[in-house]
């Protein structure tokens, strides 16, 4: 009987705990960071959650790793979930820092005035094309024709006689929004395969003759014999050309906080913007340092020289 009783009690306990845990959650993970006020050289402690954009996740994770080596008492959790999740959760107070590929102003349902924007990096993007298509330099006009389905064969834009296969990112994706706005001048791409991850897009472009998608610069490397960077209007898709504003398709990587950051949030964001990160980790991970940009952009997409 004893055995049965303890089993029963344990079972009920587990059930109740499960229900309680499901009901709870929410607000108990807010920042309890301290320090910071005493000066940034002091080690800080506490725990915060950073999450959102999957494009920014690798950089954030790498930065957190280095940050924690200097501040062993600081507990920073890095999560993915997408830019929309990042913005929603930071606005709701569940994330302390919300990562996003786009301006909070561009999304409905987010009180952008409550959020403070920290532009930690810039990422350049371009069309990624299968090598067999035979096109690696395209005019913007032709690029729009390719992606809107106006031309369906590469031979019409100076390539091989091969059907064009579009590989899109899903609606609401930051990469898609940026590419549409600055690569296609706001045109809506035609239907095609849609994949959620840039790695899958890369794999499909690599494997499928005539496929074309779009990727951040960091996804291209020299070993990809089949995935080629597309130059637009004769401008090579390089970090340098993005910095000078000559290459049009790029976006900020944002870290949003609800209200001005304090404590551990501030310490971490200061660390993200420090030269230590901006000149080493940021380029290593394939991003462009925000401090090196010679142009800037506002939430409406207007570009101006710095």
């Amino acid at each position: 009987m004893k055995k049965f009783k303890s089993l029963a009690i344990m079972f009920t306990f587990v059930l109740v705990m499960g229900v309680l845990a499901a009901c709870g959650g929410g607000n108990d993970n807010s920042s309890n960071g301290n320090g910071g006020e005493e000066g940034s050289s002091e080690a800080v402690s506490g725990s915060i959650i950073v999450g959102g954009s999957s494009a920014l996740q690798p950089l954030a994770a790498a930065a957190v790793e280095q940050f924690q080596q200097n501040n062993p008492d600081a507990q920073i959790d890095v999560q993915g979930g997408g830019s929309g999740t990042g913005l929603s959760e930071v606005a709701a107070g569940n994330f302390d820092i919300g990562n996003a590929d786009y301006f909070a102003e561009s999304k409905e349902g987010i009180e952008a005035s409550e959020l403070v924007d920290h532009k930690v990096a810039v990422v350049g993007m371009t069309a990624a094309v299968n090598a067999e298509a035979g096109v690696t330099d395209i005019s913007k006009e032709d690029l729009i024709k390719v992606f809107t389905g106006e031309v369906t064969n590469w031979k019409d834009v100076g390539g091989e006689d091969m059907e064009i296969q579009l590989v899109n990112r899903p609606d609401g994706s930051g990469t898609r929004a940026t590419f549409n706005e600055f690569g296609l001048d706001g045109a809506t791409p035609a239907e095609g395969i849609t994949e959620d991850s840039s790695n899958t897009v890369k794999k499909i472009v690599n494997d499928t003759p005539g496929a074309v998608g779009y990727l951040a610069f960091s996804y291209f490397d020299d070993s990809d014999s089949n995935v080629k960077k597309m130059a637009i209007d004769g401008v090579e898709a390089t970090d340098e050309n993005v910095k000078t504003g000559d290459f049009p398709i790029w976006a900020y990587e944002h870290m949003y906080t609800k209200g001005e950051p304090e404590g551990l949030e501030k310490a971490f964001l200061d660390y993200m913007m420090s030269d230590e990160i901006q000149t080493s980790l940021v380029p290593e991970q394939g991003y462009i340092a925000a401090s090196e940009m010679k142009v800037e952009r506002d939430a409406e997409g207007n570009q101006s020289d710095l």
Partner: protein
């Protein structure tokens, strides 16, 4: 488990002798409370999920004023404000149903066939070898099916058709293989439950084994076999990950079986992380989820209806 049962009965008889009935009654009550609370919890959870999903799913119609007819029959899906906002989910509803029915078409004959083999043709061998094989198939995670589909089936279709490989056909094959074990094991149980008398009577009349299977066993087991197929279809309808990996997720209606398509589940998993809570796009995804829930209720009703007509 049986061990603890045994000890509980032995100790309660022991106590029965010692102090009449007080503690026995208390034990009875305790057991009742535990079992009842389990049942109530599950019912509450089901109702809560249904309510939550219904409220969330109706937001887009109530708050955002989306037209239900347009949502169910429209052909263009562009909820995040690229160009004109459109919210026609018909291509996904169509995609989900095509994948489900095609997968059932693929899995039903194979599943029922191997169930017959297992229960009627090669009883010992079939159950020793085929049964474990099917149990292993059940245990393989769907992402693995998706990966195999992506690396084997998609290139195969690409080579043998004009398309790009990512297609309704690939989704159908992957999901078909996934639901095969469900269909097989439930069919096998159904066939096993056919009374031996019926078979003996058939043999006694001089029927051959095949005649017995075809004219006696299959008709007798038909409602249960149908249940097996519908259960498989319910699983196919809700499958997200493996389908998303191979179907191509194109928002346009597929023109042929080798064309890309999208399902309700694949659109939800693709877009959910990119939307902000409370936005039209997010609410529309919840509405897609509501369609999935309604469909799973429909599948359950169908299964109930079929099993109520069971003859054996």
């Amino acid at each position: 488990m049986s061990n603890s049962n045994y000890s509980s009965t032995s100790s309660s008889t022991h106590r029965l002798i010692k102090n009449k009935n007080g503690s026995v009654k208390r034990n009875e009550l305790r057991g009742k409370v535990v079992v009842y609370s389990c049942a109530v919890l599950i019912i509450i959870a089901t109702i809560a999920i249904t309510l939550f999903l219904t409220i969330k799913g109706l937001q887009s119609f109530i708050v955002n004023g989306v037209n239900v007819g347009e949502f169910l029959t429209g052909l263009t899906w562009s909820p995040s404000g690229e160009g004109d906002v459109a919210y026609g989910a018909f291509p996904f509803i169509f995609g989900s149903f095509s994948v489900t029915f095609l997968a059932a078409l693929f899995a039903a004959p194979l599943g029922i066939g191997s169930a017959i083999f297992m229960t009627e043709i090669a009883k010992t061998w079939g159950q020793k070898v085929l049964q474990p094989v099917i149990e292993i198939l059940v245990g393989i995670p769907s992402v693995v099916y998706g990966l195999i589909g992506l690396t084997v089936i998609v290139p195969l279709i690409r080579e043998h058709s004009s398309g790009i490989g990512f297609s309704l056909l690939a989704g159908m094959i992957v999901v078909g293989v996934m639901i095969l074990p469900t269909v097989t094991s439930i069919s096998a149980d159904a066939l096993k439950s056919i009374p031996q008398d019926i078979k003996d009577a058939s043999y006694g009349l001089g029927a051959t084994r095949w005649q017995t299977i075809y004219k006696v066993i299959l008709p007798a087991a038909m409602p249960s076999l149908a249940t097996a197929v519908v259960l498989g279809m319910a699983r196919a309808f809700g499958e997200a990950l493996a389908v998303q990996m191979v179907i191509g997720n194109s928002k346009a209606l597929p023109e042929s079986i080798t064309d890309q398509a999208a399902t309700l589940t694949s659109i939800i998993t693709l877009s959910m992380g990119h939307t902000t809570y409370g936005s039209l796009h997010n609410n529309l995804l919840w509405s897609l989820g509501l369609i999935l829930l309604v469909m799973s209720y429909v599948f359950i009703i169908i299964i109930r209806f079929i099993s109520s007509r069971r003859k054996v």
